[in-house]
């Protein structure tokens, strides 16, 4: 059965990618909110924000916007998984000689494809708005790698939500705190402008280390120890989310 893991995953990923291609509005929706936020912050609030660097504010803002794009995008994974469970097609797969993990991996790989398409749109708009970077190929690869890990970690959280949800709203509700988290981080303003306890929270939550690392990579600055903090957070969340999702899945499919 496990010998079909890859072929089953490929077939099922093809199926859910087709779902996205047939409702491209989900991609547009994923990209529209972060783009609107970026326009709002750069052209409305940005003038009043002092980031302490001479670079354009869009350069400062983009890393956080990329994370928000992913945070809102993974909600669709929970939604699509929930619909599969509701519609009976999930039970059909479960009663067939299909490799069990394939059903989840197909949704996870589809999430990667969908979120990276949305990220490409957001980066495109940022470039039009004056975002510039002299980042080397290696730095770009590092940024893509971090975003990939972030998407994977959040997608597995979405899988848990999709498997456990009882209603459609419940399936996507988990993403609101994830979307909110970047606001209490260094994503929009430097943390030193915040009052003590808020600044402490902002500096010690995962988003800040991830945002700071991506920002440093784009600005061709040294990433310092921050990258290891970021990696530790990402790896930790990913491992916990996969373990929890696997446990929920095992209970679900008995």
């Amino acid at each position: 059965m496990t010998s079909h893991l890859f072929s089953d995953t490929r077939v099922l990923t093809g199926r859910s990618l087709r779902h996205i291609l047939r409702s491209p509005d989900t991609l547009i929706t994923t990209a529209v909110t972060p783009v609107a936020m970026m326009l709002l912050f750069v052209y409305v609030f940005g003038g009043a924000i002092n980031t302490g660097s001479g670079a354009p504010y869009v350069n400062y803002l983009l890393p956080g916007i990329l994370l928000i794009t992913i945070s809102s995008g993974v909600a669709y994974t929970a939604y699509r998984l929930f619909l599969d469970l509701q519609g009976g097609i999930f039970e059909r797969f479960m009663s067939m000689p299909v490799a069990r993990p394939s059903v989840l991996w197909a949704h996870v790989l589809t999430s990667l494809a969908a979120n990276f398409s949305a990220l490409a749109i957001v980066v495109g708009v940022a470039l039009l708005m004056g975002f510039r970077t002299g980042a080397s190929v290696a730095a770009w690869l590092a940024v893509v790698g971090i975003l990939l890990l972030f998407t994977l970690a959040l997608t597995w959280i979405a899988v848990i939500a999709g498997l456990m949800a009882r209603t459609v709203d419940g399936a996507s509700g988990f993403s609101y705190p994830l979307i909110f988290l970047p606001f209490i981080s260094s994503a929009f303003v430097p943390t030193n402008s915040m009052p003590g306890p808020v600044a402490w929270f902002a500096e010690n939550q995962p988003v800040t280390s991830i945002v700071d690392t991506i920002r440093a990579l784009f600005a061709q600055e040294a990433v310092g120890a921050g990258i290891w903090t970021a990696m530790a957070w990402l790896a930790g969340i990913l491992v916990l989310a996969v373990a929890a999702a696997a446990a929920v899945y095992r209970r679900k499919v008995s």
């Binding site: 077939v11 099922l12 087709r18 039970e91 009663s95 067939m96 299909v98």
Partner: protein
């Protein structure tokens, strides 16, 4: 039981029990289904028919008892069971976003068959879905969805097919179409286990009927055997009136 055959039975259920919290749905179910033919599991709503089918198709674990399907134990050899069966649940398990044809190709590929295109075309043809084949399943009528659902279940010719209330919610014509399909399947040698709450459905289709009531099988036999449980028939002369079904089908035009 009279199934003393050289072949082992297609399905053997012994002492299956299942509870959900305090609700004892199955309280020791025993029966055997011989190979080939149509076996109807009859019971009212909530009798536990679906729970039993879910156990037999490896979707649910029993609390006690054993069951084998096509010789494989549902608890110990679920992969063997899954390779031998096909399940058509109460709600058509089709992918609405995909076309009818893509649904069939999807299942053929997940069953690791090579000639998916031919399989899909062949089934679209034999289920009168060729014209609708390239339309999304979401545009199908209830009867068409059910036909597609059953067509998907036939891919790979599994020796045992579970049909859980296949005609619930269908109009009379669609219901006859499903009956026709089920008979054709049995004629090919497939073992069909059908659950239904419609007595006439069991009477029309089934070679053997088991009645599931309050968590156990209270009767199991052929239709004549079950009829013999009641006092012998007396001859009465009754004017034969057409049933409403006869009238409806005559008016709207019955095909096949």
């Amino acid at each position: 039981m009279t199934t003393d055959q050289a072949l082992q039975p297609a399905i053997r259920v012994q002492g299956i029990e299942k509870s959900f919290k305090d609700l004892h749905v199955l309280r020791g179910v025993d029966f055997e289904v011989p190979r080939g033919g149509i076996f109807a599991l009859l019971g009212s709503n909530g009798a536990g028919k679906t729970t039993l089918v879910r156990i037999l198709s490896t979707l649910l674990k029993a609390d006690a008892g054993t069951a084998t399907v096509n010789g494989y134990d549902v608890g110990a050899e679920p992969a063997g069971v899954r390779g031998s069966i096909s399940l058509t649940g109460q709600f058509a398990a089709v992918d609405d976003v995909l076309t009818g044809r893509e649904n069939l190709v999807l299942v053929a590929r997940l069953r690791h068959l090579r000639n998916h295109a031919e399989i899909a075309d062949g089934l679209l043809d034999s289920f009168s879905l060729t014209e609708a084949g390239n339309r999304r399943a979401s545009t199908y009528s209830g009867g068409m969805r059910r036909r597609l659902d059953i067509a998907m279940s036939l891919i790979g010719n599994p020796p045992v097919i579970f049909l859980d209330e296949p005609t619930t919610g269908l109009d009379p014509q669609a219901r006859l179409e499903v009956w026709h399909t089920v008979r054709r399947l049995a004629a090919q040698g497939t073992t069909v286990l059908l659950t239904t709450q419609y007595l006439d459905e069991a009477e029309h289709l089934a070679d053997r009927i088991a009645i599931l009531h309050q968590g156990t099988i209270i009767q199991n036999g052929t239709l004549p055997e079950l009829k013999r449980l009641l006092p012998a028939a007396t001859v009465e002369y009754v004017e034969k009136q057409p049933s409403l079904e006869d009238v409806f089908l005559a008016l709207v035009g019955k095909d096949s």
